[in-house]
Subunit: 186 residues, 2 copies
Amino acid sequence: MPTPARTSIEAIVAAGRRAVANDGLEGLTMQRVARDVGVRAPSLYKHVRNRAELVRLVIEDVLRDLGAALEAAATSRQPRKDLGALARAFRRFAQQNPNAYGLLFSRVPQEFAPDRRLLEEASAPMLRTATALAGPDRALPAARTITAWATGFVRMELAGGFQLGGDVDEAFEYGIDRLAAALSQH
Amino acid sequence: MPTPARTSIEAIVAAGRRAVANDGLEGLTMQRVARDVGVRAPSLYKHVRNRAELVRLVIEDVLRDLGAALEAAATSRQPRKDLGALARAFRRFAQQNPNAYGLLFSRVPQEFAPDRRLLEEASAPMLRTATALAGPDRALPAARTITAWATGFVRMELAGGFQLGGDVDEAFEYGIDRLAAALSQH
DNA sequence: ACCTGAACACCGTTCAAGT
DNA sequence: ACCTGAACACCGTTCAAGT
């Protein structure tokens, strides 16, 4: 006799994100997610193939949020202004979602790799801004330079990599300014 | 009656690095390392407090190698030349040690955090080059800009983040050239 | 002083049995 | 059609017992 589902993929992914937010990727266990949504661990396998797929779904959820934050930040149509806004939105997102951010551009288990279309959508605002700033011929390497710098900066900051003192906010603004100057077509 | 040690901390760390090289951090299990050095898992706890400490020792081992590679790369005393050499050495190291590299500037469990002195030693060549390039007043933010860009670029490359086509080598050289120009004092 | 098997509390995952 | 307990093969870690 069919019984109605007592949980849903949406609830499961949301519980997965809470687990990651609180305790990082290792905090995302099937047992904990199951408890959180009110079933036993084996039941999760009716909604998700395995833990790797759940991790991927959580990463994609995070990526969607990051994409939306970037999209909302780059609206001035003034490329240098948008560049700064994008970088700051990027950093703010990472600071507000440190564990979730740590999942992006990271470990390679392949099984965790998010859908390519999502990656492209999240990078669209940066590519658009880079095109306006550096010109269409240099758009791709320019976007990669900015994105590499921003992801690297934020990751080092989150990992506690800036140990030598100095003003980290200032270093971030310095980077924005220098990159904007370096990538602008003259 | 005392019995001589059948293994050593050096052998254990080396086995840990092999496990990481082959299968990433999740491949570093106490049982596997124990088998590799010829003892049973509980014996490892005579040499190491727990897995977290072993992971930290492996990370520090990787960091020492990276520091040596960077030190060997920056020898020309021509800042712009050294900048390129450092960036390329960084990238080469990551390509040759992808799983080991993934451990650096990464996950935050705090227990895994390498010794600060090692971090400083590994970043010394970059700081020296940045000082020569951007001047002492701007050395720290300049070093951070370069390091952030290099770590971010390499990480995205390893994670398969550059999906939009284009020439990745060219984007890397473009980044070196643009950063060298942007950070040079005029 | 070091190594071991046994044990404990956890994992992810499968599967037959329940409704 | 979904959920469950039991089971399996793994983890990390502790500890008393062996040499």
